[in-house]
């Protein structure tokens, strides 16, 4: 019997008992659908995170902070450290500041290509054309970083004139008009200097940023503007204040491979600093998402195993029903191996139909959800909640077919061992 005939016959046989097969296909469908959706969820969220990486930073920069010998909470009060400064995080979180000496030390560590202290600038307000004043957070731009823009260009780091990219939601309050109109306008930024006096400077809007998730909510200045603001802010402040930084950005050779990066991190750790690459910062997030997806997949696989038992059951019934047919075909010279393939391929067909339907419906649901997720999750623009990689979808379908094949083995073995004489005997 030719392979194509075996497959064709198995296909037709699978749908001879339509209701029975449909129910088994339904069970497979539910499992495959769940598996596809959970996988799609993981892919969608992880892809979203990957997409936003570029706007957070670049992959050849690591963030260096001074290693803090924090004692675990609950071990009594921590000793006072004059270098301790406020840090990002819940109120009370502090970090040990980096001084100029630290910057020099880090710069001397082998593998550090360049170091730039992150200058914290606290802007009091932003104003356009004498209008209302609004608070504004300012983040630091790292070369290579791609902020997703609605209009305009990224800031020019080497430019001498102060520039900035404004978040889109500032346009209306500042009466800057549409995204295109805002470009080239000048806005006024105010900071409080060391003596408590509020001073202002001006900057040109060169770009308008899309609202992002992981991306900073604030404006992105170029170096000239950061310097200007920092200088204004530092005027009159004690020397010790101005030379203390929360963190520094260190450039390294990302192309040297993970081991070289790890070695650099180790060397920095030996010198008393903590270095975290962007990948590691994101790695934690993706690892959590992967773990959740894994657990969800586990449930889907349980459903699939139950469905696999359904296949065993269905095929045992089919073997029982077709005892005579199998006996006849064997009498006519069909080998045991071919009988086995007929039934196991029938199982694979059930698996294929169920999983293909499951994957297709999951993709369809993904499209539907994608259409409404913008309204459901307005804070996460650009998120495709369910994304499907062809490889993953194919893996789900093939995996289900493999489970079906295994499930079909037992009934197929029974069929192949049938004795044609007793199968054809009648009373």
């Amino acid at each position: 019997m030719r392979a194509v005939d075996i497959v064709g016959t198995a296909f037709r046989n699978a749908f001879r008992a339509k209701l029975r097969t449909s129910l088994t296909v339904l069970a497979i469908f539910i499992g495959a659908f769940t598996l596809s959706v959970t996988n799609g969820l993981g892919t969608g969220i992880n892809r979203y995170i990957d997409d936003t990486v570029a706007s957070v930073g670049v992959d050849d920069v690591m963030t260096v902070t001074k290693a803090s010998d924090d004692e675990a909470a609950g071990d009594g009060p921590a000793e006072y450290d004059p270098d301790r400064i406020e840090a990002d995080g819940p109120p009370g979180t502090t970090a040990v500041a980096l001084t100029d000496d630290d910057i020099d030390t880090i710069a001397d560590v082998a593998g550090v290509l360049e170091i730039e202290p992150v200058k914290d600038v606290a802007v009091d307000y932003v104003r356009h054309d004498g209008g209302d004043r609004y608070t504004l957070a300012v983040s630091q731009f790292v070369p290579g970083m791609e902020v997703e823009l609605t209009a305009g260009d990224q800031v020019d780091l080497d430019a001498d004139d102060p520039q900035l990219v404004l978040p889109e939601d500032y346009l209306e309050p500042l009466e800057l008009g549409g995204a295109g109109d805002a470009l080239g306008r000048t806005v006024e930024l105010a900071v409080t200097d060391g003596t408590g006096t509020q001073v202002t400077t001006e900057a040109t809007v060169v770009g308008v940023a899309e609202p992002g998730v992981i991306a900073m909510a604030g404006a992105i200045p170029n170096d000239a503007l950061t310097e200007a603001l920092y200088d204004l802010q530092s005027t009159g402040a004690p020397e010790s204040e101005t030379t203390r930084y929360g963190e520094a950005s260190v450039w390294f050779d990302a192309g040297a491979g993970e081991e070289a990066t790890q070695a650099l991190q180790d060397r920095l750790a030996d010198a008393g600093y903590t270095a975290v690459t962007l990948e590691e910062q994101l790695g934690t997030i993706t690892a959590v998402i992967d773990a959740i997806v894994l657990v969800l997949n586990g449930f889907a696989v349980i459903a699939l195993i139950a469905a696999g038992i359904g296949i065993v059951n269905t095929l045992f019934m089919a073997v029982q029903e077709r005892t005579r047919e199998v006996g006849l075909m064997k009498a006519m010279g069909l080998s045991n191996g071919r009988v086995f393939s007929l039934f196991s391929i029938e199982a694979v067909v059930i698996g294929l139909v169920g999983s293909a339907l499951g994957a297709l419906v999951a993709i369809g649901v993904g499209q539907l959800v994608g259409g409404v997720s913008g309204e459901l999750l307005p804070d996460l623009p650009g998120l495709t909640l369910l994304a499907f990689e062809p490889v993953t979808v194919a893996a789900v379908v093939l995996g289900v077919m493999a489970i079906a094949f295994l499930a079909g083995n037992l009934p197929a073995l029974r069929a192949s061992r049938q004795d044609p004489i007793s199968s054809l005997r009648y009373e």
């Binding site: 019997m1 030719r2 009498a331 006519m332 080998s335």
Partner: protein, 231 residues
């Protein structure tokens, strides 16, 4: 006369073992010449079904040899046995064993499908076999929609499709009324006469047995009496 197509020597078949063992055939000798129509008759339990299964190579004897066309069949591999049954033998059963859901044509071409023939060849030869049995207008019908006589003709077409040398018929008219049974008999003997296909018919029906060249009467696993042909 030339050497027989099928030659059976000291054929024994025992089912089970120990005290419960049952000896269905107790040392049987039989020769079937090329082109002969042989009826195997006997009461139930006489061993006639066992003999047919052994002759049709569906089962292996406990003791004894079956020589088919000069080949000792005990030396054939499972693969060779399958091929022999597929291409040398045709089977006609009392209960038809048609796939009720499939078309008449698909039922008839099943042996060709098993043999690995292409769809084009299957259709061509299937239609030819159906035409021979005047059933070509029923090719697209489902087997279930046919009358008993038509079904048995489909079964004969199926048995013929591989141009076999022997047709084994187990009570071929058992499920048919006398008139239709007669038609089916005519077809079988016509094939025997005109195409030289051997017939091995297992039957209770004395009239059918009488139409064969010779009857082999079995009793308790042995040949009780037979009309000898010139050896």
């Amino acid at each position: 006369m030339a050497s027989p197509l099928i030659s059976v020597r000291n054929l024994r078949k025992t089912y089970g073992s120990g005290p419960s063992a049952f000896e269905a055939l107790k040392g049987l000798d039989l020769d079937i010449s090329e082109g002969e129509a042989v009826a195997i008759v006997g009461r139930s339990g006489s061993g006639k079904s066992t003999l047919m299964h052994l002759l049709a190579l569906l089962d292996r004897p406990t003791v004894g040899t079956i020589t088919l066309d000069g080949t000792d069949t005990s030396r054939l591999s499972a693969r060779q046995l399958n091929r022999t049954r597929n291409s040398t033998f045709g089977f006609v059963f009392q209960q038809f064993f048609l796939n009720a859901q499939a078309t008449v044509l698909d039922n008839v071409t099943l042996p060709l499908k098993i043999a690995g023939a292409s769809r084009r060849e299957r259709t061509a030869r299937g239609m030819a076999a159906l035409a021979q049995l005047e059933l070509d207008d029923k090719a697209g019908n489902r087997a279930n929609d046919l009358s008993g006589g038509q079904k048995q003709r489909v079964v004969i077409a199926r048995a013929l499709i591989n141009r076999p040398r022997v047709i084994f018929a187990d009570e071929p008219t058992g499920n048919l009324d006398t008139a239709t049974g007669g038609v089916v008999e005519d077809i079988l003997f016509d094939l025997n006469r005109r195409e030289g296909i051997n017939l091995v018919v297992v039957t209770h029906d004395d009239d059918l047995a009488a139409r064969c060249d010779r009857g082999v009467h079995l009793r308790d696993g042995l040949v009780a009496a037979r009309e000898e042909v010139a050896a």
